[in-house]
């Protein structure tokens, strides 16, 4: 196994790379897809990202074909079907790669090393290799041939969304980066920009980052607030509601759709707006619960960030890869057996506001997780912009997957890497919060405060509001959402 690339860099460069993140303006994309026009784009892998990105690129007037392993073609596997039924040319590595100008590696992380080792000798001199996640380069230290340009274009949404938004005439926020060690012709950025335009990403906002910033912030966000906190929160809140005698179907539904509903408020106006959706007494309760949880969970967030930074996490996970994913598959099976996962949502009407009123603890968990992830990332040298996108910005997207089909759907949609990290977090966080949960009653999860009088102390409310609004994630969020206002959907 090669060296962890990040660990080979001097601190000065590590910090410089972690600090890269800039929101690009629409005006920087006036050249459209020109840099890719007429070039032969070959996609490796035809799963959700591979297929949907390819459909978008072709509909943008680009020449796209798919290369699959010979077995996948011979056995007419799903990936072969995906590509052929959509009218794409499909060929083996040997058939397509030698003439490819741009190769998009859209296989899962764990296949990157064998895939890249197999394709590199076939790629023509001066071609471009694109990733949608930097794990292989940063954590596994993959060395790419010097003449090859290495870029990253990472739509920050599941593949199905990448396609759906494109068809609507929009796109999904996209992160792009150029691997500085592999930019022999100096056109890496132009290619990455054209690729982002081809998938529609430029309309929704493009962040220019680095491979390192992407990996370290992405891993941290997905393990903690995005997937980990939502999974832990789902399990704890459900069990508590059952303990408190809430009807199981109602409890299941409150959680399944509660994350989506409450984080929708987050999307539009940050933590402030999400908290403002609560009544004043409920807001103060959520604030206090969140503060307690932040104190309890802070060491866990630090541990996750430290393990990600020093390579412990990737090493642990890669050991499981080598062991045929024994841990991952076992944990996945365990999750499917949880009471929450096995209880279907009841067919009861829950009004939008009721998700807030009866889900005070869930709101507090989202607030605690977003703020902690953001604080921990920025303390580790990740720039605030990156930290915002990898915490607050993506939470609603993950919440949407839970709304579709609970934790199963979330874990099926996210990468194996995210899923593995999510379980690690969950296993540590559930016991960590067990004492805290003992004091929780149905007034903050399941039934709502049900007060006769919504009165609060003015001074306390002002104090709480100030604390919410002045958190650094709210500061950067205000700026970034402002940038995006120019280009975001007018709905």
């Amino acid at each position: 196994m090669a060296n962890n690339y990040f660990n080979t860099l001097p601190l000065r460069e590590q910090l410089a790379e972690l600090g890269k993140c800039r929101f690009m303006h629409l005006a920087e994309f006036t050249e459209g897809v020109d840099a890719l026009k007429g070039k032969k784009i070959v996609v490796i892998g035809c799963g959700a990202q591979g297929l949907n990105q390819g459909l978008n690129l072709r509909d943008s007037g680009l020449d796209v074909s798919y290369t699959l392993r010979a077995e996948a073609i011979e056995q007419k596997r799903q990936s072969w079907k995906n590509a052929t039924e959509n009218g794409f040319t499909v060929g083996t590595y040997d058939e397509l790669l030698p003439t490819a100008d741009v190769v998009l590696n859209l296989t899962p992380d764990k296949q990157h090393t064998p895939v890249v080792n197999a394709i590199m000798p076939l790629m023509k001199h001066g071609a471009c290799l694109s990733y949608s996640h930097g794990f292989n380069i940063v954590e596994e230290g993959m060395q790419i041939r010097d003449d090859i340009t290495v870029i990253m274009v990472a739509p920050k949404c599941p593949g199905s969304e990448v396609r759906a938004e494109y068809v609507r005439g929009f796109g999904v926020p996209t992160l792009i980066a150029v691997h500085e060690d592999n930019d022999p012709n100096g056109d890496g950025l132009a290619l990455a920009k054209a690729y982002a335009v081809g998938t529609g990403g430029h309309k929704a906002g493009v962040l220019m980052s680095s491979f390192i910033a992407e990996v370290k912030s992405d891993l941290m966000g997905e393990q903690t607030i995005l997937c980990g906190m939502l999974q832990t929160g789902s399990l704890l809140c459900f069990d508590k509601m059952i303990e408190e005698g809430i009807e199981p179907g109602y409890a299941s539904k409150l959680i399944q759709y509660g994350w989506e509903t409450t984080t929708e408020a987050l999307k539009y106006g940050g933590v402030t707006n999400m908290m403002d959706r609560l009544s004043n007494p409920a807001k103060i309760r959520a604030f206090d619960l969140s503060a307690q949880m932040k104190d309890i969970m802070r060491p866990l967030y630090k541990k996750h960030q430290d393990d990600i930074m020093n390579g412990t996490f990737s090493k642990t996970m890669m050991a499981d890869w080598a062991n045929d994913d024994a841990e991952l598959l076992g944990w996945r099976a365990d999750t499917a057996e949880t009471a929450y996962e096995k209880t279907d949502a009841a067919d009861v009407e829950i009004a939008e506001q009721e998700y807030f009123d009866n889900g005070i603890l869930m709101v507090a968990m989202v607030k605690a997780g977003v703020e902690l992830a953001f604080e921990t990332m920025t303390a580790a040298g990740i720039i605030a912009d990156s930290a915002y996108y990898e915490s607050l910005h993506e939470t609603p997207l993950i919440a949407n997957t839970i709304a579709r089909k609970k934790l199963y759907e979330m874990n099926a949609t996210i990468s194996d890497t995210a899923e593995y990290g999510c379980y690690l977090y969950n296993h540590a966080c559930v016991p960590l919060l067990s004492d805290f949960m003992k004091d929780i009653k149905s007034d903050v999860i399941g039934k709502g405060l049900q007060l006769d009088d919504d009165g609060v102390d003015n001074a306390r409310l002002i104090e709480v509001n100030e604390a919410i609004r002045n958190h650094p994630v709210e500061q950067i969020g205000g700026i970034l959402r402002g940038y995006m206002a120019d280009m975001k959907r007018i709905i």
């Binding site: 026009k37 072709r58 959509n86 005439g169």
Partner: protein, 478 residues
């Protein structure tokens, strides 16, 4: 005093001197109901009113429960009376100047309540005209005389065809007040083509179209009432289909080139062939109807044209001058096409305001992501006016009724005046009333623009005027 029998027209078809027919009218007026009859010009609403007064030759069906004294005020009655007066004028034969029947006598002929008659003559300012010949009155004055005749005849059913037309303001106010009182004792049927004049006491509305009684709606059914209002507006409004945005110029097509040419088109999944070897050319300004059973691939075929079907890249397709698969983008194709389908409606689940939904048609997007110009906003407002939705411009789209959403999406598809408008079962899932609305809008578009229309439909009665070419897909091969 109130007639205790229901008036019942059962499967009634009536002929009016071979000029007009009402067909298969099924209508019951229960005691205590007051009806408004409405419909576009020439729809037969006056004929329906006249039927209540016993007019027309009954071809089939029956009318029952009509009281003895039905008073009808209508232009036709007015014209008949004037015509009769004219015939009495035998000046040509006797070489004397005929004075004609004086107004007082005309009123007296049918009067059952002289006290009321005197009061009405005063109120309506006819006193100075009582001695004048009826046929020398102005139209408005004649109308007042007709009203007095009807009101003083102790009617058991009062049928008023456009009673407010041509009345001066004071008379109008008086008449409205008088009818309000009268409504407590006399059932009324009033013909109006403007909803905003609909009196408070009306309990039901009948909508007539092409000699058929198409819709019967209760006054307190607010959504149906609103839809009828809109339908009438679409049929009657003199507003034009708004122009395209002059600032947006589509790249011109070579004249003589077809809009669409499919050669040997085939769609296949695994071993399942949806259709194969299909040739089809659509020339500019042609209107096509596409039909075929479920599963015959109608929507697939359309999506080959719009570029939404991925197999468009493996077919020989020439659209708007682009040979597909040669480096064009789908947005270059879509700019030439307006598209409406129930699938689009399903996709279009956004809370965008109505104005923005229409504007999104300029950009072929679902939702609006691009800043629009003042001109585009103005054009969108003209469409809203045409649809009768001006007051609702900022309402969220996803709160509209199904039918209203469909209308809006048609306006969205048409807003840029595309060379090709594709309507994939635009009436699917709509009730009768909303179907009428959609068809009325499509008809206005077909007859007032240069857009070629490609229309997919199952139902024969949803035929649109002006669509003369047909392509029928057969049942899929198994």
């Amino acid at each position: 005093m109130i007639n205790q029998d229901a008036v019942c027209l059962d499967a009634l078809s009536v002929d009016f001197d071979g000029r007009f027919q009402l067909s298969d009218i099924r209508w019951t007026i229960q005691p205590g109901e007051h009806w408004l009859i409405t419909g576009a010009n020439g729809s037969g609403k006056s004929a329906l009113a006249a039927v209540l007064a016993g007019e027309g030759e009954c071809l089939s069906g029956s009318r029952s429960g009509l009281p003895d004294r039905v008073a009808l005020v209508s232009y036709e009655r007015q014209a008949e009376l004037i015509e009769a007066e004219r015939r009495k004028d035998d000046a040509d034969i006797l070489d004397v100047i005929s004075e004609g029947t004086p107004v007082a006598k005309i009123i007296d002929e049918v009067c059952q309540d002289h006290e009321l008659a005197q009061a009405l003559v005063e109120t309506l300012g006819l006193r100075p005209l009582m001695g004048r010949a009826f046929r020398k009155l102005s139209t408005g004055e004649t109308r007042k005389v007709m009203l007095i005749r009807a009101l003083t005849s102790r009617p058991e059913l009062l049928v008023l065809d456009e009673p407010f037309d041509g009345l001066d303001h004071d008379s109008l106010t008086w008449l409205q007040a008088h009818l309000r009182v009268l409504a407590k004792t006399v059932p009324m049927v009033i013909v109006l083509n403007r909803f905003d004049e609909c009196p408070e006491f009306i309990t039901h509305i009948a909508y007539v179209d092409h000699g058929h009684l198409l819709h019967q709606v209760k006054r307190d059914d607010e959504s149906a009432f609103a839809e009828l209002y809109q339908l009438l507006h679409l049929k009657m409004s003199e507003l034009e289909v708004p122009m395209a945005d002059p600032a947006v110029r589509l790249p011109a097509l070579n004249s003589g080139d077809p809009l669409v040419r499919l050669t040997g088109a085939t769609i296949r999944y695994d071993d399942n062939t949806v259709f194969e070897n299909l040739d089809w050319t659509i020339e500019a300004n042609e209107h096509w109807q596409l039909s075929g059973p479920n599963g015959s691939g109608k929507t697939c075929l359309l999506s080959l044209i719009t570029g939404d079907h991925p197999q468009c890249y493996v077919n020989d397709i020439m659209v708007f001058g682009f040979q597909r698969g040669t480096g064009e983008s789908i947005w270059q194709i879509k700019q030439y096409i307006g598209y409406v389908s129930s699938a689009l409606q399903w996709e279009y689940r956004v809370g965008t305001g109505l104005r923005n939904v229409i504007i999104s048609g300029f950009f072929d997007s679902i939702g609006l992501y691009t800043k629009s110009t003042e001109t585009q906003k103005a054009i969108a407002d003209q469409w809203l006016a045409l649809l009768g939705m001006t007051a609702r411009a900022d309402e969220p789209f996803n709160r509209l009724s199904h039918g209203d959403q469909r209308l809006l999406l048609i306006a969205r598809a048409m807003v840029k005046h595309p060379p090709l408008l594709i309507l994939d079962e635009p009436c699917l899932g709509l009730d009768d009333l909303n179907r009428q609305l959609v068809l009325a809008l499509i008809e206005r578009i077909c007859t007032s623009s240069e857009t070629a229309v490609l229309y997919v439909n199952h139902r024969l009665e949803d035929h649109v005027l002006g669509i003369d070419k047909h392509l029928t897909l057969s049942t899929p091969s198994v």
